[in-house]
């Protein structure tokens, strides 16, 4: 790919934390009890006409608001392209229509939920609201959905197909998918505080949700949060050395060494098996690097890496690491490069490198 500097000029995140509040940055983290972290939702009537909001599911409303705020933050009225990531799509509307098919025996169905059940409803409605006639893709590839939408955003800018790209990652919790995730053994059954997921020695994670939107551009605005230096992937590493080699290679492409990293943010989710790889990397490659985690704040969901990018970008801009995410006691200096590592079942790893504007 051609190298072009790409900046995050605006962003907004709706999450189980007060992440829309610009006056504070996780100084007061919200504690949740149990295996479900629901979003702190904004007052929708401040953003969406009530008539319109009534027809919209939570995920659509959250995305609409996060998109509006991120565009305003970047000073962009109309983006050139829209890139959306969602692991499970518009789940509430999908289930609503599915349930009505089953419960009504395939009779007397109304189309609203069906119309809004497709994965690209989020992107379609944003195009409609903003009048964007250009590319509008939706990636839905499990835990890599957001990284792939990010990849496409970077490609569009580098291909000169777009200057301002609106990129969003979102998933929503529904009552029944939550139950199904419990039955599948994916969630902690006797979860206490979300702040304790790393010390509680049980399997499973805590479910979260959220909508995080970003405005990316090759033009650095005054509002710039950080520069997206690179994004890469690691597939089925043969062993730890193979995984480490991939990380070192990515850094060296940008003339960086591990020592140059101001912070590593890893996708610990509280599941012992899942976290093993982060622990090992933390004790080896990153042993002298400040380390942080984030899923105790937003919960685990397929597009939670969008929250991690929001977190990294805010840290970069404010030059401050919130205490609640620290994994070790290594003191921080100026923050120049943040490395974000996510992975699922050690098959698919993603690495995002964010640098100072």
């Amino acid at each position: 790919m051609k190298t072009t500097n790409i900046y995050i000029n605006g962003m907004a995140c709706i999450s189980p934390q007060e992440s829309l509040d610009k006056s504070q940055f996780l100084e007061v983290a919200i504690e949740h009890t149990g295996n479900q972290l629901s979003c702190i939702e904004p007052k929708y009537k401040d953003f969406i006409p009530p008539m319109q909001a009534r027809r919209m599911s939570r995920i659509l409303k959250m995305c609409n608001v996060a998109a509006q705020i991120s565009l305003k933050d970047a000073g962009v009225e109309k983006p050139d392209a829209i890139e959306i990531a969602t692991g499970l799509g518009c789940m509430a509307d999908s289930e609503k229509f599915l349930k009505s098919i089953i419960d009504n025996g395939e009779e007397m169905l109304t189309p609203t939920a069906f119309i809004q059940s497709t994965h690209n409803t989020i992107g379609g409605q944003l195009a409609l609201a903003l009048g964007v006639n250009n590319q509008n893709f939706t990636f839905s590839h499990n835990d890599l959905s957001f990284e792939h939408a990010l990849l496409d955003s970077l490609m569009l800018i580098r291909e000169n197909e777009a200057r301002n790209v609106l990129l969003g990652g979102a998933d929503e919790i529904t009552e029944n998918t939550h139950i199904i995730k419990e039955k599948l053994g994916l969630l902690k059954m006797n979860a206490g505080s979300n702040f304790d997921i790393l010390t509680d020695e049980t399997s499973g994670t805590i479910e979260g949700e959220g909508a995080s939107f970003f405005v990316l551009s090759p033009d650095k605005a005054n509002s710039c949060y950080g520069k997206l230096t690179d994004l890469s992937f690691g597939y089925k590493p043969t062993d730890m050395a193979d995984l480490e080699k991939g990380i070192i290679k990515l850094l060296s492409k940008h003339n960086l060494k591990i020592e140059d990293l101001s912070l590593v943010i890893s996708g610990y989710n509280g599941d012992q098996q899942n976290d093993e790889i982060f622990k090992t990397l933390g004790a080896r490659l990153f042993k002298s690097t400040p380390q942080a985690y984030y899923k105790h704040l937003c919960g685990d969901y397929m597009t939670s890496s969008a929250f991690s990018l929001w977190l990294a970008a805010r840290i970069m801009k404010e030059q401050k690491i919130p205490k609640i995410i620290n994994l070790n006691e290594i003191g921080q200096g100026p923050i120049n490069h943040i490395f974000i590592h996510n992975q699922a079942s050690n098959n698919n790893h993603s690495f995002i490198l964010l640098s100072k504007c």
Binding site: I115, H119, A127, L128, F139, S140, N176
Partner: protein, 400 residues
């Protein structure tokens, strides 16, 4: 951005054939695959016709060569069969698969299982299928069956999904990130979509009549299709002769309504126009358009108007092949891409079936009979979807 993108293999399964050869013969013989619903368990099996793949899940599993313990949906089974054919057609070895990417599209993912087992899942039963619900799981199953271990992703943009998967694959090659990638899409017929389109009142109970004045709606279908795309570098290394070239593509948004197209067909107009621009071609260069042509009042009217607006007086031959396959949703873009490629390879124009009276508000006229011995240089293939998501792909005969 000079990197060229070649098609080196194709594979498909739909109501008109289990492979490329049978598909081509059905098209030549004007033999539609739309008929009674036999395999999908729905209350509406006698109310509607559909383009169903006439095999049970067990038969598909046998065709895919998969054992019982390979847990997957019908969507994934169809995908595996078509993707295998494409890979074989491209002459790729197991070793090649390690350096091959996969970009697969689907609209419903594992809904064909979820709609049967939804209440079971909540009770904690049949959970092995619960994991197959996400769109991404179907792609991972296809990757696993094919031995693809590198980059794979899933695009879900309603009825333009697989056209966008092809486009994204072409861009991954152009940007030098992949040398070889399997691209396409798959969707199984489901109660979810059948009832969904029924609730929108856009299903025709009879075989659909795209571009007919008295069209009554669409027929649903199911199927899968995949293309192998390779870079010029990859072609140079193997000395392979490609089937054709991907020369243009564009995705535009109508930004008008969640399900209906704008009266002027702005999105379709833009996607076709930009695909031509990307290829550096003018409207007069196009030999054939494989239209989206669903058979709904709204789509065919606006697509026709957009074609008239772009092409003016000299409109190339065009047809919709939806009356053959039904509307296969997330697979449609890829199935029709393959029909477009067959047109180029065989100097062939497939017909629009079931037309008695052409649309009176259009001056353009669809091709009603199959044509052979045509000079087909450049083919435009349209796919439009919910959310105003409009895509056009442009395939070209190899330059000598």
């Amino acid at each position: 951005m000079s990197e060229r993108v070649f098609v080196t293999g194709i594979g498909t399964i739909s109501a008109i054939g289990n492979d490329i050869e049978s598909t081509f013969h059905s098209l030549l013989d004007s033999k539609s695959g739309v008929g009674p619903i036999r395999h999908l368990k729905t209350k509406h099996s006698n109310d509607f016709v559909a383009g169903e793949v006439n095999h049970s899940n067990e038969e598909l599993r046998m065709m895919a060569g998969l054992s019982e313990d390979f847990i997957c949906t019908r969507t994934a089974l169809l995908g595996i069969i078509a993707a295998r054919e494409a890979v074989k057609n491209a002459g790729l070895s197991n070793l090649d698969m390690e350096t091959t990417g996969l970009i697969s599209a689907t609209t419903i993912g594992g809904m064909d299982k979820s709609e049967i087992h939804y209440h079971d899942y909540i009770q904690g039963d049949n959970l092995e299928y619960a994991k197959t619900h996400p769109c991404g799981d179907n792609t991972e199953k296809i990757a696993e069956a094919l031995g693809i271990t590198g980059f794979s992703t899933t695009i879900s943009t309603a009825c333009s999904s697989s056209a966008n998967a092809i486009m994204f694959g072409a861009r991954m090659i152009k940007s030098g990130q992949l040398d070889r990638v399997v691209v396409g899409g798959t969707d199984a017929l489901s109660k979810f979509t059948l009832n969904g389109f029924n609730s929108l009142m856009i299903l025709d109970k009879e075989p659909c009549k795209p571009f007919d004045e008295n069209r009554k709606g669409l027929n649903l279908g199911e199927g899968a299709a995949y293309l192998v795309l390779e870079s010029a570098n990859a072609i140079d290394l193997t000395g392979k002769t490609p089937l054709c070239e991907v020369t243009g593509y564009a995705n535009a948004n109508d930004a008008f309504h969640q399900t209906a197209s704008s009266p002027t067909g702005e999105g379709p107009f833009l996607s076709m126009k930009r695909a031509l621009e990307k290829a550096g071609l003018s409207p007069g260069d196009i030999s054939y358009i494989n239209a989206h042509g669903t058979g709904t009042d709204n789509n065919d009217m606006t697509e026709g108007l957009a074609i008239q607006r772009l092409f003016g007086e000299y409109v190339p031959k065009f047809s919709s092949t939806k009356a053959f396959t039904g509307h296969t949703l997330g697979a449609a873009g890829a199935i029709e891409a393959i029909i477009s490629i067959l047109a180029i390879m065989n100097g062939f124009v497939p017909p629009s079936l079931n037309i008695k009276t052409p649309v009176s508000d259009h001056y353009i006229r669809p091709q009603k009979e199959a044509l052979l011995n045509q000079v087909i240089e450049h083919v435009l293939s349209n796919s439009f979807g919910f959310g105003g998501n409009d895509s056009s792909l442009l395939f070209s005969k190899l330059r000598k």
